[in-house]
């Protein structure tokens, strides 16, 4: 039994270890999506697959990490010190293929006690389209290289043959290898720091403190849920379509609050679809945990204890939990965002002061072509003109701050740098006034952009939100929907769909982006 001071000291230490791993990742990773947009996450998980500590990076990653550990632990009976494991398979504990995870086991006296892990979104993971998002995919084999739990070490030495095999399946092998080295380095740093803590305090003290931390977070979460109204409510959120002819794909949550417990039942959600908006199991679990965390206080420790009041019920074969083989790449945004929104709509009845208006939908554009200035191929991913954040009881929503799954955590790059590096000209990039939903508090406005493409190019889109905008809460209005239009130099105009590949973009075309805003909160 640890004393209360040692428990607090160790809680701080574990958080500092996670933070330090994140810093290492930030400084050593090679891809822009990692070192600038910070699309990676850190976790310390114990031998019972319980999340013990994490660093606040991308919320949709975190609730999924324990499921990934479970898959590795199931696949390998006896991990050894020095091992490094990898996984991205959505049908074996992963979320979607671009999110590759590295695991390093931590031992105390020959006993496995923790896993140090780093999950990072790869800038490319192979498959039919550059960058991982393939709206045309109808099966996972078209989405990229699939990595079930594998050990990439042999007696603690990285197996270069396996790394080469993976690198051979992605489009930028050198960057991939750099990022993988950074991930493994950060995970091993976590291992080293955890070993130091185990040596300093003794394994029994550390493990007892972990139990106490989890119990503490549970107590904190239950104290909050105990203030909510008890009852059963339903909530729905809808996607435009799956890109293959199925419209109004609906996530349905039936949520019961009773005796400081929350049960989320997603079984009534629509059947799985042909396109890539299906969710993997781990991603669905993570989305539910994320919705719950958003309704608690920010001070609640985000470890497995905080999620003990939560029970998740879902049915395999629905859009929130697809059967093996279905494409799922879009799922960390869609349908994760709809899962979150359906739950919050339901729980707005239980805790109206905590429920916030909907955050925006992700609708990405990737443009590829050849830069006439350098004759080099380029590919540019749009992170500008983001949707707005939802309003809350405390005030208006954040403008241009993103979607449910990133909530202001993803940075867009400098326009000056983009114009210097790509044949692009940003004629206009401001807020899109009036796009946030009205209400007692207004949803944040989305962005508005006119982008001129100064090279012959092609574009892909991937996302949602052209027909359904961010949901208004408690009488607040919905945010406006997105409207993306391509203006070609010959004067013709063409609205862009949310799941298109190979759009012809002649030199001098102008892309007009009007991003939707966040949902309003409360009747005006």
């Amino acid at each position: 039994m640890s004393d209360p001071v040692t428990i607090s000291v160790l809680q701080n230490r574990l958080n500092a270890v996670a933070e330090e791993m994140g810093e290492a990742m930030l400084h050593t990773s090679y891809s822009q999506i990692l070192n600038s947009s910070r699309d990676f996450s850190i976790g310390i998980v114990d031998a019972a697959c319980r999340l013990v500590a994490q660093a606040d990076h991308i919320p949709i990653h975190v609730g999924a990490l324990p499921w990934a550990v479970r898959a590795v632990a199931d696949a390998f009976a006896s991990p050894a010190a020095g091992d490094v494991y990898l996984l991205n398979d959505p049908y074996a504990g992963g979320s979607h293929l671009p999110d590759l995870t590295a695991f390093v086991p931590v031992f105390a006296g020959g006993r496995l006690v923790f896993w140090s892990m780093v999950r990072a979104h790869q800038s490319d993971i192979g498959g039919a389209t550059m960058g991982g998002y393939n709206p045309g995919a109808t099966e996972i084999w078209q989405e990229g290289v699939r990595v079930p739990p594998i050990r990439i070490t042999d007696n603690g030495v990285i197996r270069d043959d396996l790394v080469r095999m993976l690198a051979a399946n992605v489009r930028h092998p050198a960057d991939f290898r750099g990022d993988l080295a950074a991930m493994i380095g950060a995970a091993r740093l976590g291992e080293r720091r955890m070993l130091e803590a185990l040596a300093e305090f003794g394994a029994e003290t550390v493990l007892a403190a972990v139990d106490a931390m989890l119990d503490g977070a549970e107590r904190h979460a239950r104290a909050i849920v105990a203030t909510w109204a008890e009852g059963t409510w339903t909530g729905e959120a809808r996607l435009d379509d799956d890109g293959h002819g199925t419209q109004d794909v609906t996530v349905r949550a039936t949520v019961t609050v009773a005796d400081s417990n929350v049960t989320v039942d997603l079984s009534a959600s629509d059947p799985q679809v042909k396109g890539f908006i299906n969710s993997s199991h781990a991603n669905m679990q993570s989305a539910v945990a994320m919705a719950f965390a958003y309704l608690l206080d920010p001070e609640v420790a985000r470890n497995a204890g905080a999620f003990r009041p939560l029970t998740v019920i879902a049915r395999e074969g629905t859009v929130v939990w697809a059967r093996e083989g279905a494409p799922v790449t879009m799922c960390t945004s869609h349908c994760a965002d709809e899962i979150v929104e359906a739950i919050i709509v339901a729980l707005a009845n239980a805790c109206p002061e905590r429920a916030m208006g909907g955050w925006g939908r992700r609708l990405r554009v990737a443009i590829e072509g050849t830069d006439p200035r350098t004759q080099r191929r380029f590919i540019w991913h749009m992170f500008h003109a983001r949707p707005g954040g939802g309003a809350s009881a405390n005030g208006d929503g954040w403008p241009n701050a993103g979607e449910w799954h990133t909530v202001g955590g993803l940075k867009f790059g400098s326009i000056e740098v983009a114009e210097a590096r790509f044949p692009l000209h940003f004629e206009h990039h401001e807020f899109n006034p009036g796009s946030g939903g009205a209400g007692r508090h207004r949803g944040g406005d989305g962005g508005a952009m006119w982008l001129r493409v100064e090279a012959p190019a092609t574009a892909n889109t991937a996302g949602d939100g052209l027909r359904y905008g961010a949901r208004g809460m408690l009488g607040g209005a919905d945010g406006k929907v997105h409207r993306y239009t391509l203006h070609r130099p010959d004067g013709s105009e063409r609205p862009l769909g949310s799941k298109e590949v190979g759009i012809d973009v002649p030199d001098g075309s102008r892309l007009h982006i009007l991003a939707g805003g966040g949902g309003g909160w409360g009747r005006r």
Partner: protein, 673 residues
């Protein structure tokens, strides 16, 4: 003749004066936030009194005053900057409010957005557009500019920030707009992004420029008034202002680059670290400045401080080079409490001056770190702040008892737990701050200053595996003293082409232009000017740049690009364990620092009167009676456990710690193996 350093802080205005023989005198006056020059004049009078002079006599005998001010910092933190209008490229007026898509506090979705630095109605688009290579896409439209200036004139703004896209590459449009603004709005503070920070990346450049306009009018008014009052009181020497990067500038320069004074006060502390390093206290130091509500961490490596250009002050992002200081949210006034998770927490709430720690006997009823230190016997209730405040041990114990009951601990266990937890938090914070900069803290010494550091420094150092602690005797007014050990400095930067191999000819031209500008700005200075060149570089797609020191010979060498690249590969490997020698790095920015050496002040030579030595019961796992020494009377090594006190700080030596007074002005503490 005297040189005087003046550090205006939130609570106290500290002064340190040094004469030619190295005799140091200090004074402390209450700060006067409504007009800080009142506190400065009061402090100078106190300093004069201590020396048996009157104010005119002191000022007549003073050859140099260096001043650190929080006027800019406070204006930004409190959102009380001048009323500012922003002229910006049409179609791009929301850049400073978009904040690159980022929002703080990831899991706080109910956090409402903070107001923009300049409201949208005063951010006015002007028809003009440059391309990335600096060429003109749309010429500056005079009618559009006039209309914008009409709006700002009608509003009565006090400052104008002119921020055009790609102006770092070609300042012509900004210069035209600035000339028109100065003509149309006489007396208004006008500043351009190409002057303030001629560097690529619009969010950083615009936010810095807007911050400069917000504080410029305020800083200029304040410094003008201070100069006038000092002159009226009989001062004829120069007044220098401490800048965020650790150098000093004239009042005129500081007024133009007012955003560069945002870290003016803390910069004095780091200047003191550098000076102590130079005087032999150690070339590798972690500065540990533990105050009432927060603790500042700064690093000295090989005798030099780190600079960073990623500073947030209030809502403003200020990308000017500034000393790299990390702030941890805990200090002596941090409140210990039972969280909703049933666990012990220290901070982030602080008792501050009001209600204050429970032992102040004001209104505080929750135990703070200071209450814990008192209950453990570390602090002398009769001798806190030189006896100016009596501490109530009973009140501290009562507060600890209330908290302890909820944890199942007695008051002493509770106090020991708070002390241990805050030490652990400090150690964790320092570990992350050092790792972030690619440093292993174990070969550094911990240099403790600020009122609360002495009681925690040895335990924090031990937790980090550090073997040495240094506590300077000037700890009480260290920032003011540090300001006397600074040089005149101008920091300049130019961005270069953003892709391809380093263009050495382009870099050489930029360096030449910057050296000319730096020399021109310090033309009035009669001492020798030196300059140093650094380059910001990265591998292709990386976003964080690494600074590499540039040998001027490379700029003319035929293989200059290769030598620059080799220096970058080495630095990258040293920081991040690997390099990619087959890749040519990108040269992003080139920087020139021009410094003018100020006459050095002699090391401190005088020691105040010795005071009696006593004994006190302290809790170090169990109660034991330990010797209490006076810091300013130490003349031999002291082995812990022991306490060493001065008027403003108390140092706790744990068992086996050995403290040695150093005649150069500090206490060196070696920790046991």
């Amino acid at each position: 003749m005297l040189t005087i350093g003046i550090d205006v802080g939130g609570t106290f205005t500290d002064l340190a004066g040094i004469d030619e023989a190295g005799r140091t005198s200090i004074a402390k006056a209450a700060s006067t936030p409504h007009d800080p020059s009142d506190g400065v004049l009061e402090g100078l009078s106190l300093l004069a009194q201590g020396l048996g002079l009157d104010l005119p006599g002191l000022l007549a005998a003073t050859s140099r005053i260096v001043h650190g001010t929080t006027v800019a910092t406070n204006a930004l933190l409190e959102g009380k900057g001048a009323r500012v209008g922003m002229l910006t490229t049409e179609g791009h007026r929301d850049i400073i409010e978009m904040r690159e898509g980022l929002k703080p506090e990831r899991y706080n979705l109910r956090l409402p957005p903070s107001p923009a630095l300049v409201p949208r109605g005063l951010r006015i688009g002007v028809r003009e557009r440059l391309r990335a290579d600096g060429s003109v896409e749309i010429a500056l439209d005079p009618a559009s500019l006039d209309a914008a200036l009409d709006l700002l004139a009608a509003d009565g703004v006090q400052g104008v920030a002119i921020c055009f896209l790609h102006a770092w590459r070609n300042p012509a449009h900004e210069q035209l707009a600035a000339a028109a603004a100065r003509a149309r709005l006489p007396g208004v503070f006008v500043t351009t992004s190409s002057d303030v920070l001629p560097q690529i990346k619009e969010y950083e450049r615009f936010s810095t420029t807007v911050a400069n306009a917000l504080v410029g009018p305020i800083v200029q008014t304040y410094l003008g008034r201070l100069e006038t009052r000092l002159a009226a009181a009989g001062y004829a020497g120069p007044l220098f202002i401490m800048l965020s990067h650790g150098g000093v500038a004239t009042v005129a320069e500081a007024g133009l680059l007012a955003a560069g004074t945002a870290l003016s006060g803390p910069a004095g502390g780091v200047a003191a670290l550098t000076a102590l390093a130079r005087q032999g206290a150690g070339a590798y130091l972690v500065g540990f400045d533990m105050g009432g509500t927060s603790t500042d961490i700064a690093l000295i490596r090989a005798g030099a401080a780190f600079l960073s250009s990623a500073r947030g002050v209030g809502e403003a992002r200020i990308a000017l080079p500034s000393l790299d200081i990390t702030t941890l949210g805990a200090g002596g006034g941090s409140i210990a409490h039972l969280g909703a998770d049933g666990m012990l927490h220290v901070g982030p709430r602080s008792a501050g001056a009001a209600p204050g720690p429970a032992c102040y006997g004001t209104d505080g009823s929750e135990p703070t770190v200071t209450d814990a230190n008192l209950a453990l016997g570390y602090l002398d209730p009769a001798n806190f702040l030189g006896g100016r405040r009596h501490l109530d041990v009973g009140a501290a114990q009562a507060a600890l008892h209330r908290l302890g009951t909820t944890l199942g601990l007695n008051p002493v266990e509770t106090a020991a737990g708070i002390h241990r937890l805050v030490n652990a938090r400090m150690a964790d914070g320092i570990r992350v701050a050092t790792v972030r900069r690619g440093i292993d803290p174990r070969r550094f010494a911990l240099l403790g200053f600020g009122g609360a550091a002495g009681l925690h420094a040895t335990a924090v150092a031990a937790a980090l595996g550090m073997r040495r602690v240094v506590v300077p005797v000037q700890a009480a007014v260290l920032s003011a003293w540090g300001m006397l050990n600074t040089d005149l400095r101008v920091e300049l930067v130019r961005s270069l082409s953003q892709s391809g191999a380093p263009d050495i000819a382009q870099a050489a031209d930029a360096v030449q232009a910057m050296q000319a500008e730096g020399n021109a700005r310090l033309r009035w200075f009669d001492g020798e000017l030196r300059s140093a060149i650094t380059a910001d570089m990265r591998y292709g797609e990386q976003v964080s740049d690494i600074q590499v020191a540039v040998d001027p010979a490379w700029l003319t060498a035929p293989d200059g690009a290769e030598r620059l690249a080799a220096a970058f590969h080495d630095r990258h490997a040293a920081l991040y364990t690997y390099a990619l020698p087959d890749r040519m790095p990108v040269l992003v920015n080139i920087r020139v620092t021009v410094t003018g050496g100020m006459p050095p002040v002699p090391a401190t030579s005088n020691l105040p009167t010795p005071a009696p030595v006593g004994r006190r019961n302290v809790y170090l796992g169990d109660w034991q009676e330990v010797a209490v020494h006076r810091l300013d009377a130490l003349d031999r090594p002291i082995t812990g456990p022991a306490l060493i006190e001065s008027e403003t700080t108390t140092i706790l030596l744990r068992t086996g710690d050995v403290a040695r007074p150093d005649p150069r002005g500090w206490l060196g503490i070696d920790l046991p193996d």
